[in-house]
């Protein structure tokens, strides 16, 4: 059987589901961020699969470059926030960090 579009979409779907599961079940803030990275990666796999098999040309690849760029920005900001939370609360458990006082 030839490898077609659906094969890649199934891989993207499984990675996406693993990412959503990670975001839902982790209480560790860095774990939550890793789940977000998984979700973004699954979107990228789909974009590039459609760019290869669809009729859109290179657009899919260009969009996935923007996704990678935003993921990098998100990781930098997110981890800076996590480190700030750790300095303030001495924990990064997202359930315990619920105080709004500065």
């Amino acid at each position: 059987m030839e490898i077609g579009l659906n094969h890649y979409l199934v891989v993207g779907l499984l990675v996406f589901l693993a990412g959503v599961f990670t975001v839902l079940t982790r209480r560790n803030a860095i774990g939550v961020l890793m789940g977000v990275e998984l979700v973004l990666n699954s979107a990228n796999i789909n974009y590039i699969a459609f760019s290869r098999f669809g009729t859109g040309g290179l657009e899919g690849q260009i969009f996935s470059i923007f996704v990678i760029m935003l993921a990098a920005a998100e990781a930098a900001i997110g981890l800076a926030i996590v480190l700030g939370i750790y300095r303030k609360f001495q924990t990064i458990d997202v359930e315990e960090v619920d105080s709004l006082r500065g």
Partner: protein, 169 residues
């Protein structure tokens, strides 16, 4: 035949890494599973003829984001105290939700009439996609490209402001 076998091996590697991130007990193991997923995704990009993106994936994700994540894990070394047993959402409700979403998306995937074209985007072997991507960035995608640089600058400044030590007079 070898092509299909290689594809299945890389796809399995990717998906196994993703499930490793989701189910591993230790965050450090999760980070290394994430590396497996990112490397596997780079392999899939090569399969899809996106050579430039495979290189970007390796440089930005594996070389940048993953190292940053590992740094954050090492700096917040109380990481092992965040137990797996006390979860934000229990494992079973989360599995139920994920299963529901998965079934819905799989149905959509099977039923949708995707428009598939036979031709490959990167036609000339050896030329690759880099030329086309560079051309698009300085042509029709110039405005998003410039906005992207503003976003990156903002993120850079924001990360510095957030992570510096505050000194009050």
């Amino acid at each position: 035949m070898i092509y299909a076998a290689l594809f299945y091996a890389i796809a399995l590697f990717t998906v196994a890494g993703a499930f490793g991130v989701a189910f591993s007990e230790n965050v450090v193991y999760s980070a290394f599973s994430l590396m497996a997923t990112l490397l596997g995704a780079a392999g899939l990009y090569v399969f899809l003829g996106a050579d430039f993106l495979a290189a970007v994936q390796l440089l930005v994700y594996v070389g940048g984001i993953l190292v940053l994540t590992l740094f954050a894990i090492m700096l917040t070394h109380q990481i092992s105290d965040v137990e797996v047993s006390n979860r934000a959402v229990g494992r079973w409700p989360a599995l139920g939700l994920v299963g529901f979403v998965g079934i819905a998306m799989a149905t959509a995937l099977v039923r949708a009439p995707w428009k598939v074209s036979g031709e490959v985007v990167a036609k000339a072997a050896g030329e690759g996609t880099t030329y086309g991507i560079g051309d698009a960035f300085l042509g029709p995608f110039l405005l998003p490209f410039e906005l992207a640089s503003i976003v990156l600058l903002t993120a850079l400044v924001g990360a510095i402001v957030l992570s510096r030590k505050e000194i009050r007079d």
